[in-house]
């Protein structure tokens, strides 16, 4: 394979995170650069050597693209997320250098300049350990989806909770019914055995209702907590975020 084709193929694959039309535009620049160079009597090796390392060029393209608008605290620039399939590489060494040496040009530039011509070895690259950030559009869609889901789900949960509160109130009332009977006797001085039996059965029902309350409240609490947790994870992104 010829040096020129090798260079261009490598560059194209390194530029994969860019949107196709931008990538094609840049590729066109480099293709014509080769043609001009060859016209001026240079060899493909010379031209490729002058251009530098395709990987460094791609890094530069990614940095320049997200460029000055999104310089973050560390002086590094946000990577471009064109699709989720590929994790963009970030030259952390260069990013740090940009932060330190920053001054008038904080982090807008990356390490394309550290190519062979400067006689420096290319910096080590690690994938950014941070969780990936999502684009604003994805975030808005997630928020809208959750909003409509919650319009339904929150009232449903509230209805379930009020049912539990109702059962609990029934239980408490049942258990307290003998006390009510006692107060009744105190006030009126009369006692009907029917009332006594009724209050006994009410107290029994009340105890059963309270047991039911305890079970259902526990289950519903778990359900609500899980649902809230799921909401938060959905907003943070991809359910991959650490929790629990």
């Amino acid at each position: 394979m010829k040096t020129k084709d090798q260079f261009l193929v490598r560059l194209e694959s390194e530029l994969a995170p860019l949107p196709p039309e931008e990538r094609e535009e840049l590729m066109e620049d480099y293709r014509s650069h080769f043609m001009f160079g060859l016209q001026n009597g240079k060899t493909e090796e010379e031209i490729a050597g002058e251009l530098g390392d395709p990987r460094e060029i791609a890094q530069e393209a990614l940095h320049q693209r997200s460029g000055s608008s999104t310089v973050n605290a560390g002086g590094a620039t946000d990577p471009v997320f064109w699709y989720y399939g590929q994790e963009p590489r970030i030259d952390s060494a260069a990013a740090q250098g940009g932060g330190k040496g920053g001054g008038a040009y904080p982090g807008t530039y990356s390490s394309a300049y550290s190519g062979a011509n400067f006689g420096t070895s290319p910096g080590s690259r690690h994938p950014e350990p941070e969780a990936r950030r999502r684009s604003a559009a994805v975030w808005v869609c997630a928020a809208a989806g959750l909003f409509f889901l919650n319009i339904v789900m929150i009232p449903v949960l509230l209805a379930l909770w009020s049912a539990v509160i109702g059962i609990a109130a029934g239980g408490v009332g049942g258990v307290l019914s003998p006390v009510a009977l006692l107060l009744d006797y105190w006030n009126t001085g009369t006692y009907f055995p029917a009332k006594g039996f009724a209050s006994m059965s009410l107290a029994g029902c009340g105890i059963l209702l309270l047991i039911l309350t305890k079970l259902s409240a526990g289950a519903l609490y778990k359900l609500s907590a899980n649902y809230a947790g799921w909401n938060i994870r959905a907003m943070r992104g991809r359910g991959r975020a650490k929790h629990d």
Partner: protein, 108 residues
């Protein structure tokens, strides 16, 4: 070594803009002109030019040439003119500051 790279990074934008300000230039021409004076990986120029266009400092137009591929020319915009002026000012301030500092170091 690292500092040297940082210098060149900052300088490349200034160099490219200064050259385009003189007259319309195409990419290869810019690369040749810059590397005549400073050692730089020419590949870095194209992403930089893209950004300059995106930020409205330059505009591009294609021109067919009798031999070879069509040339993509870069022309400076009024904003680019102003930005270049500012960059040069900053550059000169910086250089003269560093020079004064070095002179002091030599004298004392």
């Amino acid at each position: 070594m690292d500092i040297n790279i940082q210098f060149k990074k900052g300088a490349l934008e200034l160099c490219a803009l200064a050259l385009i300000r003189q007259q319309d230039r195409y990419g290869y021409e810019l690369a040749q002109l810059v590397s005549e004076h400073i050692e730089v990986a020419e590949g870095a120029l194209y992403p930089l030019l893209r950004r300059l266009v995106k930020e409205g400092y330059c505009m591009t137009y294609l021109q067919e040439s009798s031999e070879g591929p069509p040339r993509k020319y870069y022309r400076i915009t009024p904003e680019g003119e102003a930005h270049t002026g500012w960059l040069i000012e900053e550059w000169e301030k910086f250089i003269s500051g560093v020079n004064r500092l070095i002179q002091k170091g030599i004298q004392s």
